[in-house]
Subunit: 346 residues, 2 copies
């Protein structure tokens, strides 16, 4: 149908370019639509709290591989990655809808496993499942999760509020989910070549969990509130530190300097990356799926969080003209490149 | 993985049974969650208006066939079927999110067509596109739409409010979308057998449009408000009149009597059904996808709408013990059976 027309490959645009291209004609008409496309979640005005809405699509063969993802973990993760977007707005999630498309050849017991994982996540994070859709799928397993959260207007953190001199902070540690995935992929290949060999995941439990069972950082949202810190900008790390800090810089019209020696990398992530011949810093920068919170704070807020072991200051915001840089351990200046995940170039 | 365990086929439960089975353990914890699973949309409390949330998953090969569904129509329909759920709560939709999974082999121009349809629907129904997700898909085209609407608490129509003696009303006409689909399927088969034969859709434009380009009945919501009628219960006809009136009766713990001779069936639907050897009444009862509003009103409201040509009274609500019946044109009493669409038995 399109053979004779101009043809543009989707991969040329990438996910963010594609969204921008497809939606830049769309008008916003309602006063209740405070923030549309372009942040972790949309913001709707209603009553005394603003409402946050975020949605994610998870497709078999793209976002997960049932060869090594247990179904219960899949349900759990599908909820967590979506809640993470609400937390990235500095909000608290309260409801989700879950839509699922599943082959009619799947037994009920398999779908029950997915819902057990969803239920576990709901129980742990105090979330109500309020709706959804179920359908047969002729192809693979399809999950679509939408979450609804709440925040006071003055607490909401957009991506565009970073100012020059602000400190760049990250929760937890980075790169683990990506290195865990490499281990799972390696064991899958070994299994495919010889199904009698049992997977060797010994001593890798932390990074495997980072990949299979990530947790949205609701605790950081609560901690920031306790510390009376409202970040100037925030995003969750789904695509990788480089890609995600560049979102903040682009939308804030600023630059940044990151310090490689400050990156929080767990020893298991570090050693396993080395074993696999990977650079741990590259895993932290471009691995993605850590679902940690990346945020900027005013310098004056530094004393409030400097003793918190779960938050690391990794750099600062600069002016736009300075661009996005990383100072390596050997003091070489590198320009950051977003090599975040491009679903259209798999 | 599940071969040796008890195995239950999904088709045994059907879509509604499956949702009930999977979610009956889930607790509702938040006061803002006024209504969870089990109606056309979820209801959240916030501010002076309640918020309505509804979500639909549309999968290639299950919900649509790209052999005859133009991409722009697909985008348009994906939005409309979702808005229809908000209207079925007697609310007004204001925002949507759209997630799309598409093969990386799809050219950008194809995705643009889908978004043109989405934009058309947004413009026509005054809707803001506020978010979504895009991904590559290894399988077919996947669309997931979530819509957000608003209604005053006292205006919301649930499925469970019908009372004995209430009149059963339906907007527009029934069966057209299903008969239109049969024509498209027939022409597809002819084309597959001989690609040189052009599809013969002449004189079938209305029913083809009913299938390809349905419209949510926002106008009926406005009309009811003008007439100062708040239906006692309401649902949209997505699965078919029989299945959908039975949802109202089940949730209201009532029965119903429908009169076959009152069913609004367009002459084109009627004649084409006959041509195809189908019973027009069965098409109206079980065809589905009409996206008309089916609602119950107090008898005293009848005078307010009796002259409206777009609303037809087709029966009344009875007590639960009487069950769900249809009186045929020859005065034979039939028990209604929900032969609505079961995605797991395709």
């Amino acid at each position: 149908m399109f053979e004779n027309k101009g043809r543009t490959e989707l991969g040329e645009l990438g996910e963010f370019g594609l969204i921008e291209h497809l939606t830049n004609n769309f008008k916003i008409r309602h006063e209740t639509s405070v923030k549309g496309i372009g942040d972790d979640a949309a913001v709707l005005h209603s009553g005394d709290k603003e409402i946050l809405i975020s949605t994610d699509l998870l497709l078999e063969g793209i976002h997960f591989d049932l060869a090594y993802v247990p179904l219960m973990h899949l349900g759990y993760k599908a909820v967590q990655v979506n809640l993470s977007d609400i937390y990235a707005m500095n909000g608290v999630a309260a409801q989700i809808t879950v839509s699922i498309g599943v082959s009619s050849k799947f037994p009920l017991e398999a779908v029950e496993e997915i819902y057990k994982g969803i239920e576990l996540a709901c129980n742990k994070f105090n979330i109500d499942l309020i709706g959804g859709d179920t359908s047969s799928s002729k192809q693979g397993l399809v999950l679509s999760v939408t979450s609804i959260g709440y925040a006071a207007k003055e607490d909401i953190c957009y991506r565009n509020g970073a100012n020059e001199g602000d400190l760049i902070c990250v929760s937890g540690d980075l790169g683990g989910a990506y290195v865990g995935l490499q281990i799972l992929e390696r064991e899958k290949q070994i299994f495919l070549e010889n199904p009698n060999i049992q997977p060797d995941l010994e001593g890798k439990d932390y990074i495997i969990e980072r990949q299979l069972k990530p947790e949205g950082r609701r605790d950081i949202v609560d901690l920031l509130a306790q510390m009376k810190i409202v970040p100037t900008a925030m995003i969750d790390i789904s695509d990788g530190l480089a890609s995600d800090i560049m979102h903040i810089c682009k939308q804030s019209e600023k630059g940044c300097t990151l310090y490689e020696d400050k990156f929080p990398i767990d020893p298991m992530t570090y050693e396993t990356a080395r074993e696999l011949g990977l650079d741990p810093t590259v895993c932290a920068l471009n691995g993605g799926e850590d679902y940690e919170l990346l945020f900027t704070i005013k310098q004056e807020d530094y004393t409030k969080l400097k003793h918190d072991v779960d938050i690391t200051v990794i750099g600062h915001i600069t002016d736009k003209a300075s661009g996005c840089k990383m100072i390596s351990k050997s003091s070489v200046v590198h320009e950051l490149k977003a090599q975040g995940w491009n679903a259209f170039k798999l």
